[in-house]
Symmetry: C2
């Protein structure tokens, strides 16, 4: 993995602080709600948090690019681009459940070199960069010794597996796993990096989701691939498998 300068890791932490302050103000406030046409819940918090992070980036690194979920893209000639998703897990946020997260990623020439998952209510922060992952200052690593039959599998919602083929794939893996836990969004990947979950399988992820996740998963010793076992890149389809180790990934791919 390409090196991420410490300066940018510190700055990304400041972005997480900024978004956390905004998000905490709106958590469990029933009036801060609006709806996108596709009915996914997007809150004022989402918009304000992204705007404040964008302002901070523009002030500190006016030459850097920005790709955000809510306000589109700022393209520059810089090697560096920030990817922002203030609230991944909007459904959990909306119902007042503290297992959503803010995703912040820094890309160098299209490759994510830094990822943050920030949970501002429980005050948990995962940082992946330079080949390691930390959770609130402690180095973490994935669980590596369990076969699929003893593994814990997570996915946010069976409703997000759109095609029949995707549903079948997931069902056949789930049947072989020890058990399946639902409803986690980015938080599940954080738990995987911390060695508490063995695999996460999801469909329809966007670059602003998976770019932040990859350095955290890989920095903890895990693997992050698409449903054919290919490495996740900016061009990936968004069908992802995160696993604690390559052997488990291969068992999952074979069991489909």
């Amino acid at each position: 993995m390409k090196k991420c300068p410490e300066e940018f890791i510190d700055f990304a932490g400041k972005l997480a602080d900024i978004s956390g302050r905004v998000i905490r103000r709106y958590f469990r406030q029933p009036n801060g709600l609006s709806a996108k046409d596709d009915l996914s819940p997007v809150t004022t918090a989402d918009l304000e948090a992204e705007q404040e992070m964008r302002m901070a980036i523009a002030a500190a690194y006016p030459e850097h690019g920005i790709i955000g979920e809510e306000f589109g893209n700022v393209q520059t000639k810089s090697d560096y681009t920030w990817m922002l998703d203030p609230i991944d897990g909007t459904a959990s946020f909306m119902i007042g459940r503290p297992i959503f997260g803010t995703l912040i990623s820094l890309l160098k020439n299209g490759t994510p070199i830094l990822g943050i998952i920030n949970q501002p209510i429980t005050a948990e922060r995962w940082i992946g960069a330079n080949g390691q992952s930390i959770l609130n200052g402690e180095k973490i690593s994935t669980r590596k010794n369990l076969p699929l039959s003893q593994a814990v599998l997570c996915t946010t919602s069976p409703d997000y597996l759109f095609s029949e083929k995707a549903k079948e794939f997931f069902a056949s893996v789930s049947k072989k796993a020890r058990y399946t836990v639902y409803g986690g969004d980015c938080y599940s990947y954080g738990l995987l990096a911390a060695g508490l979950v063995d695999a996460v399988i999801e469909s329809g992820l966007k670059p602003h989701d998976f770019c932040a996740l990859r350095p955290i998963i890989e920095g903890a010793g895990g693997v992050f691939a698409d449903w054919r076992g290919q490495e996740i890149t900016l061009d990936s389809s968004g069908d992802v498998i995160a696993a604690g180790n390559r052997k488990l990934l291969e068992e999952i791919l074979k069991s489909a």
Copy 2:
């Protein structure tokens, strides 16, 4: 609802403190795990927390009965029986997700007059008794103005809906709701009581689950019924619907 003496509400809070201290010690400690034959994860924390609560009850109210998930029943001639479930949401606990809860209920002659949901990691405590519900000292009430088409529906896992008929029932309601959020256990009922979730539909609940939930839901102005709309009692099957108000419950029952 029958009156619950203040003395017992205070004592139930002490039980929640006791179980919380035990549970926090084991949260995210990967070595505290064992497995039941049915593969549901049950932890040392579960056993220890129940044992400590039982000791406290036996010391304070030796004449009271106790029904616990882990150690069976102590039957007495007293009007009062305590029902304990130290960790409802064992899967969430096992993967380190702070949305499980300790359920404590006091029954008078078979009717729950007090319910507690205690989340020891986020330090949240719901108490329902004497016709009202509080969350960390604040009075809460359910959301009452949304039709099913705008309602947020929760269930822990589609895998827990065992029969085909149950799956169909859930799917037909879910299709009509605004959206469905998975993976909450007792925490979802707490969020319903706090006006953040509109309905929870589940199958296979046990008395030690639903006895604690009922005073919290009803104290917040919600309704708690089985899948035929009948009141939940000790003899209920465990197929439950909690809703913010009776109108929504009726819309759910009709939409099946």
